[in-house]
């Protein structure tokens, strides 16, 4: 998988992309109507089309008066066809835009037995077979205005829809030739315009493999992602080590008893490797007072097994790791009775680890940067995005106030200039969070609100996970902030529980 990186410390960090990973040959497709223009034998007609496009471009009288003989060479014909198609493409983009398919190219150019064949997508085909035959009115009018008679439309469509869901141009030409025996006058047209139900890929390719596969159906464009969040394209050994360290810290924090793990969150400023906040689940107050089995509703338990992050031998071991995080089944809080009457701290069904950590980071912010008066006096210049290849963490982001104090006014380092010394973070911008479990929608959205930069979690949450398992918030385009999500998979021995 993309971005997976195995290192010496037995940790594998996998990037969880915005869209579910799809095998290249199983990408979802949508149906479109395409029109084939067969180049070879019907040069006259192609030239006629040339005049059509010229006439329209120059706004001369309608298309019905163009000559039907051809003084042009084959190469010219091809060029003309291209320009005509570009004209069509522009018109069609106006009247029948491919709104959700920006990656799909309108025109498909193919070389068949040394001849060029061009196809163009007319419009999306939706609904059942009956509706598919009906072109949108605007497209129909465009087709009609070039004397592509309704006959053509209907014949072409019905034949293509019924007979040819695949792109079999020879077959289609043949069908039309038969049809034309009794209607000689329309032979040329019929052979030129064939409507084919085509499949194009629904989503833009996320990898080159996907793109290659997509282009077998219909050409699409592919823009390799340019990431500006570190780690999506892989982690250096140094970065992996620190990811491992912080994740281990979160798991240790969560590991209240043997083989029993609640959720825990550690918010880190990665540029200076500093812990901003850490917290455990506080949805239930009882786990300190009760035995492991009764304290948490066993429905929250996950038995680690093959396929889960703890790979391999853990199945054979008598003791299994159980996760009882609030995020796994947030709706059952009321049934998690704790007989303990301890009021050492209060339960709160929404105090999941991530929310508690966010609150604690906000508290830290208020403590370190009190008052909003000096807010205006501080420098809020956002450092311009530095290139991702700059690996030194210290250069990526200037240290915050507290750290600068620890370093000692930063006079010894060029990175610690006085203006950055007072820099107050905006929420958790630039920070990472390490979670034992994939967060539920509430926690995941809270992390969007708080502007977390990267999320690392160890265990997926098939029941309520909002970062790939059930929902995929990192792929919701409408949100105003997007973080990068990684799963950290431990090798069994390195977890050392």
């Amino acid at each position: 998988m993309d971005g997976a990186k195995k290192t010496d410390c037995c940790v594998e960090i996998t990037y969880i992309p915005d869209t579910p990973p799809i095998p290249p040959d199983q990408q979802p497709t949508v149906s479109v109507f395409a029109s084939v223009l067969t180049e070879p034998k019907h040069a006259n007609n192609l030239i006629r089309f040339k005049f059509v496009s010229c006439l329209v471009a120059l706004e001369l009288p309608g298309p019905e008066k163009f000559p039907s003989f051809s003084p042009f060479s084959k190469q010219m014909v091809t060029n003309v066809v291209c320009s005509f198609f570009w004209f069509w493409s522009r018109r069609l983009n106006q009247i029948a835009p491919l709104e959700d398919l920006p990656h799909v190219k309108r025109i498909h150019k193919r070389h068949l037995e040394g001849k060029v064949q061009l196809s163009i997508i007319l419009c999306l085909a939706s609904g059942n077979d009956d509706q598919r035959i009906a072109l949108p009115q605007a497209v129909k009018e465009l087709v009609d205005s070039y004397q592509l008679s309704p006959f053509v439309t209907q014949v072409g469509l019905s034949f293509c829809v019924v007979c040819a869901f695949q792109f079999l141009s020879e077959f289609l030409v043949w069908l039309c030739m038969i049809k034309n025996r009794d209607r000689d006058d329309e032979l040329g047209m019929l052979c030129c315009w064939l409507f084919v139900l085509n499949q194009v890929c629904k989503y833009a390719a996320t990898s080159k493999e996907q793109w290659v596969e997509q282009c077998k159906l219909w050409p699409t464009s592919y823009h390799p992602p340019t990431f500006n969040i570190d780690g999506i394209t892989g982690f250096s050994d140094e970065d992996s080590q620190s990811v491992y360290r912080f994740m281990k810290m979160a798991i240790d924090l969560a590991n209240t008893r043997d083989n029993l793990i609640t959720n825990a969150a550690v918010i880190v400023n990665p540029s200076v490797q500093q812990i901003i906040a850490s917290a455990c689940d506080e949805a239930h107050s009882c786990h300190k007072h009760q035995s492991a089995t009764s304290c948490c509703n066993s429905s929250n338990g996950i038995q680690s097994q093959g396929g889960n992050p703890l790979s391999g031998e853990s199945l054979e071991e008598p003791q299994r790791l159980r996760i009882v995080a609030s995020c796994l089944n947030p709706w059952q809080w009321s049934q998690q009775e704790c007989s303990s009457t301890s009021t050492s701290y209060q339960w709160h069904p929404l105090r999941h680890a991530a929310l508690v950590a966010i609150e604690s980071s906000a508290e830290r912010d208020r403590r370190l940067f009190p008052g909003s008066d000096n807010l205006a006096n501080q420098s809020f210049e956002v450092e311009p995005m530095l290139s991702a290849c700059e690996r030194s963490p210290a250069k990526r982001q200037k240290p915050d106030h507290e750290n600068v104090k620890a370093v000692g006014n930063g006079l010894d380092s060029g990175n610690h200039d006085s203006s950055s010394a007072l820099m107050r973070p905006y929420l958790c911008t630039g920070y990472d969070i390490f979670l034992v479990c994939e967060p539920c929608p509430m926690c995941a959205m809270a992390l969007v609100h708080q502007r977390i930069r990267r999320i690392f979690y160890a265990f997926p949450n098939a029941n309520a996970g909002a970062l790939g398992s059930v929902h995929r918030l990192q792929g919701e385009k409408s949100l105003n902030h997007h973080y990068a999500v990684f799963q950290v998979k431990f090798q069994n021995e390195s977890l050392n529980l």
Binding site: E359, A444, A446, V470, E476, S478, L479
Partner: protein, 218 residues
Amino acid sequence: MDCSSSGQGISPETLAYMELALDQAKEALDSLEVPVGCVIIEDGKVVASGRNRTSETRNATRHAEMEAIDFLLGKWQKNGLSKLEVAEKFSKCNLYVTCEPCIMCAAALSILGMKEVYYGCANDKFGGCGSVLSLHSGNPQSLTRTLLSLSLHLGLVPFKFYSGEVRQEGKGFKCSGGVMASEAVALFRSFYEQGNPNGIPLSFAPKPHRPVVRRATS
């Protein structure tokens, strides 16, 4: 009061409660917060109210709903209610909020098992009650869920459920939007028009997206 834009059939109580929520939102606006407010109603009585406090707390999760919920939980715990009693009480509470709950708040309301939610304007960018996600339409007590709790009751460990595709959906709640939406939007408008209240340059604080008026189906 402009309830024509909100359509007919909205009861006077609903409008009255939304009026109270709008008062909360105005209070937020006066405190230079994003103007969203809410009230929680139990048995026809206002038991909690809340407004946005994200700037004040520097905690972007302190939305009106979360404020009101925390107040209510604190109150009930002080009264010594158990978890089950609290859950029972939440299932009788209705929430009136000026803007469609975001994904976080909608998830929280589902976790608590709120009975009904009425909101003003839709929240196209963040809404968790139909706009972006539909967390209010849970699937309570599906067969698998029943089986799961049964097997748990019998002491079986159904980890197979978790490794497979079976998911437990959250509790749903009834949700109706478009209640005095134009008033809610007007508050947003005046908030964004008064400029950047906290002196945080726009380049620093991402500009919030203005919700649009949209009638949501219940």
